[in-house]
């Protein structure tokens, strides 16, 4: 059962977004997040929403998968909304006993809610359409220039991908140890928080020992297969930009320009027409 856990919630589908170079997707996600903070007003967010809708449509991933990602932040989201709603000073709109909702409060709360929601949906589009492997590959290639200032980029990427490979194995192992300890009357359920934490010791110690042993074995196996760091290494699946990747970059650039322009120009235009 534990073997079937897919990491990073990748959704298999055949779409343009899936085929894009992971670097494009990483870059776009970062730009999209930045754009959420530099766009102004309703129109800017309208453009962002359009862009996001287009990407989701193209990715062929059902919308409900994106909403799943939202569930985890619902608590955070409601707290920020409540605080902004009640604690922003300004024109009072409604007053209930000591609590006062202001016009500015409503505006800020809405803005933040939209920002957070877009941020989560935007980044889950990336994780849903990119395998963890592609992500680490993309990161390695993107951060390559940092090699010059002696950041071990290849090693970091290798560590990430090994960690990803071993998570299901270690989970299974945890399960096994837990059952073995339960069979010897270990109690993981009852008691207060401190007692519960203490009861984890007989689980964690064997798990750590086994993890170290595995690491040792793996290191030996890697060396036996001639692994000697990133130098002189070729790639089985090298990353190359294709035409579609350049088009994607162009679209993202257009989106940024249009978004910034819409945020500033449309309100100005509207006020022109009104007067």
């Amino acid at each position: 059962m534990l073997r079937d856990i897919t990491l990073g919630q990748y959704y298999q589908a055949d779409s343009v977004i899936h085929r894009l170079d992971p670097r494009v997707k990483l870059g776009t996600t970062i730009l999209f997040i930045i754009s959420l903070f530099i766009f102004h007003g309703v129109w800017g967010y309208f453009v962002a929403a359009l862009f996001l809708a287009l990407v989701i449509k193209l990715s062929k991933v059902p919308f409900k998968f994106m909403v799943k990602g939202m569930k985890s932040i619902i608590f955070l989201l409601s707290i920020t909304i409540l605080f902004n709603l009640f604690l922003t000073p300004g024109d009072p709109l409604v007053q209930i006993w000591k609590f006062r909702i202001t016009k500015e409060g409503v505006r800020l709360a809405l803005l933040l809610a939209i920002r957070l929601a877009f941020l989560i949906i935007g980044s889950s589009v990336m994780t849903l359409t990119t395998t963890p492997n592609q992500l680490t590959d993309g990161l390695e290639k993107m951060l390559k220039p940092l090699n010059r200032i002696k950041v071990p980029v290849h090693e970091i990427a290798m560590m990430m991908s090994i960690a990803l490979r071993f998570i299901p194995i270690l989970m299974e192992e945890t399960d096994k140890i837990m059952k073995a300890q339960l069979a010897r009357c270990a109690d993981f359920e009852s008691g207060n928080l401190i007692k519960k934490a203490k009861s984890l010791v007989p689980l964690l110690v064997p798990l750590f020992i086994s993890a170290f042993r595995r690491a040792n074995d793996l290191a030996m196996a890697m060396e036996a297969r001639c692994y000697r760091g990133g130098e002189h290494r070729t790639k089985m699946k090298p990353l190359h930009y294709h035409k579609r990747d350049y088009i994607a970059y162009a679209i993202v650039a257009c989106y940024l320009v249009v978004g910034v322009a819409a945020g500033r120009l449309i309100p100005a235009l509207l006020s022109h027409i009104a007067f």
Binding site: R3, P132, N133, S161, I162, L164, R165, P168, I169, R214, D217, L218, M220, A221, M222, E223, A224, R225, C226, Y227, R228, H232, R233, T234, K235, M236, K237, P238
Partner: protein
């Protein structure tokens, strides 16, 4: 010239207590000599702690001799400039399949070795396809290793070594953690490679059934090679093997016990087929003798 030549190999572990003081020295491999030719299928037998794994790690330059010398394809393993050549010439498969698969997809794992060697991308793909087909795992190339059985994982590990185009594969108890089915799968794959590709195989094991296909068997005990020869020669020494706490294949044991009771059985019967033939021979001989009286 032999592919692997081991001369007077001694390897000592230094045991230390918690403060790092030397508690004692364990000689894991004691004065071993080996000569292995290209294309041989060699088995090294021994119970736990007999030094067979330690010996195997010397053939891949993971451990270096305390005394003596190991040459792989004419290169001394102690010479650091040859380390990567040696590791490529003598590939190694370990016991636990989970702890030697690096890739998250089968094909990526098989490609790991060639990637490290700096093989061009196009050729990596060719090698991966070739080696996965050689172990019969090509249809699983897009699978996650976590979804494979133990035997399948071990075959992927073997493919990962073959993709480096070694002259020799050292398998360090590759079947110890597998079920009987998986064990058969792996041994079949290894034999096929030895037959078809003429790859030298050094199989380290304590399962006797896996040894009968070998060209030559070395039996180790307390770091020394105590018995060596063809499987037939080694298995005819049933009493000696028992002393070394090693089992012999059941058929061999039965033939040995029958021979001890005075039944005319040849020495060193290895397979059921041979056993049956010996029985048949005995029957016809007996029938002929009776025929002499009444014929």
């Amino acid at each position: 010239m032999s592919l692997i030549k081991v001369r007077d190999l001694i390897y000592e572990y230094i045991r230390r207590d918690e403060e790092g003081n030397v508690e004692g020295i364990t000689t894991a491999v004691d004065d071993v000599n080996l000569d292995i030719k290209q294309g041989d299928f060699v088995a090294i037998l021994g119970h736990n702690g007999s030094g067979k794994s330690t010996l195997a790690k010397h053939l891949n330059a993971i451990l270096y001799p305390t005394e003596g010398t190991v040459w792989v394809d004419g290169k001394d393993t102690k010479d650091e400039t040859y380390v990567w050549d040696i590791r490529q010439t003598a590939g190694m498969v370990f016991q636990n399949p989970d702890n030697q698969i690096i890739g998250q997809v089968v094909e990526e794992d098989v490609g790991f070795g060639p990637e490290n060697m700096g093989v061009p991308t196009q050729e990596i793909w060719e090698r991966v396809e070739e080696s996965l087909k050689a172990v019969g795992m090509y249809s699983f190339r897009k699978f996650s290793p976590n979804k494979l059985s133990g035997g399948q994982k071990q075959r992927v590990s073997i493919a990962g070594v073959i993709a480096m185009h070694p002259k020799c594969i050292v398998l360090d108890e590759p079947t110890a953690m597998l079920d009987p089915m998986g064990r058969k799968e792996v041994i079949r794959a290894v034999r096929a490679l030895n037959d078809v590709e003429q790859i030298t195989v050094i199989l380290i094991t304590h399962y006797m059934e896996e040894v009968i296909y070998a060209d030559r068997v070395y039996v180790m005990d307390k770091g020394k090679v105590t018995l060596q020869g063809t499987p037939r020669e080694v298995f005819s020494e049933v009493e000696r093997l028992k002393e070394l706490r090693l089992d012999v294949p059941q058929v061999t044991l039965l033939a040995h016990e029958l021979a001890k009771e005075g039944f005319p059985m040849p020495k060193g019967v290895l397979t059921k087929q041979e056993f049956r033939e010996a029985l048949d021979r005995y029957r016809t001989e007996r029938a002929d003798k009776y025929a002499n009286y009444f014929g």
